[in-house]
Point group: D2
Chain length 139, copies 4
Amino acid sequence: MQETQASVRVLYGDVDRMGVVHHGHYFRYFEFARTEFLRNRGMTYASVEDSGVIMPVVDATVRYIAPARYDDLLHIRVSVAEVKQVSVEFNYEVRRDGEDKVLVRATTRLACCTREGRPTRVPDEVRALFTRDELARRG
Amino acid sequence: MQETQASVRVLYGDVDRMGVVHHGHYFRYFEFARTEFLRNRGMTYASVEDSGVIMPVVDATVRYIAPARYDDLLHIRVSVAEVKQVSVEFNYEVRRDGEDKVLVRATTRLACCTREGRPTRVPDEVRALFTRDELARRG
Amino acid sequence: MQETQASVRVLYGDVDRMGVVHHGHYFRYFEFARTEFLRNRGMTYASVEDSGVIMPVVDATVRYIAPARYDDLLHIRVSVAEVKQVSVEFNYEVRRDGEDKVLVRATTRLACCTREGRPTRVPDEVRALFTRDELARRG
Amino acid sequence: MQETQASVRVLYGDVDRMGVVHHGHYFRYFEFARTEFLRNRGMTYASVEDSGVIMPVVDATVRYIAPARYDDLLHIRVSVAEVKQVSVEFNYEVRRDGEDKVLVRATTRLACCTREGRPTRVPDEVRALFTRDELARRG
């Protein structure tokens, strides 16, 4: 329950002339992993937005440890690091299929806002998903 | 008045592992050229949308004749090919700075729609910009 | 054997402010479908390149019939339309999960080149995959 | 001499369905600003690579303070934060044309590697550009 693993195939257009995944493209992979995290818990981010709450990324940190290459199958593990009043932080780890080594580690913090851009509390049904994870992690 | 030339620098992330601009990225360049075409005539596409008309791309053809490379300065010539009741077709030619050879030729047709997705006539103020060009070309 | 269906989830970053998949992004989906087409037949495009033949897209046509939206699950059917001396043409049809309506129809033609950019014949092992399909189609 | 300002127009395809620049796209803008930083000092990143040294991004941090919107003209200020043995750190600030408020602050650290991926010293001619800036800053 604590984390979700989402898998992506590295496309030709994701790779730069060094032959490795261009650093900006990982945000696509993180976004994909995050929406699958919610979907695995019975919720879609689309439904969160439909309820009037948007969750833009407000902070991000990325460590590119080793390169991923064209046609690699990558597994992105995503977990919740912290749930605050108006924001949620996610952790990501990217690995190549069949390997233990972490290629990329990252965090993104998403803040809850109204459509007009005012901060608002994390919706209870979203908080419930995350705290369930936190409780499980703390044992 | 008949055409606009917009210039873009090829970024590292636009180039694939063949060392050439990835074919899908040209749509960014065409979009940029198209919005500059309108801006040069005193109109923004943002203002068209604010008036309630959206103009999605409904048809596209592209011929990739020769590759563009990292850090190339590209010039995109855009002109209006045809104005119909509810759509406008644009032509594009991409050249490398200082060269005559056309690297890419393309067309895109944009249809006018309401926000609800129903076809609607090309707004008069948009039509005026384009027919002025057509008249100039014929005249 | 005649076609492959590859499925993609529409990400937040794929959708523009009309709320629909931005027209340029479909080339990512086509590329993904094309590589899965080869993989399903026991070949990877990476291995084609390793043998010294690159296959850039030289022609593309796209008809955007109806919009795809955020979080849609899309199925892309890809098939081989034609195999010539130095090029292969693919057809694509994009549908939303659970629906018959085709949202986007497209073709791309890929030409075989050496790494130096000279046209070269479609490698026999690639041709074999495609003609097997053509034979099946003709009955 | 201490910093470069590069300007970009926000394209339709850069904006998500919130109507704001998608967080991953800023890496394009940073990359553009960084290459212009070098170009303004008489060097291209392409020439650095031609000399056998590649400079992948190994660390990035981004704070998204306020959104940028479709058709905004953005100015990206880039400066060198630190030059180490094998890496260089850049700072970025993104502002909307005509405004003082910083929309996005970011850092990226680039490491020098050989084509085989081994760490290597920052080339002297690159270091010279950066330390000249550092000297100027320290007065």
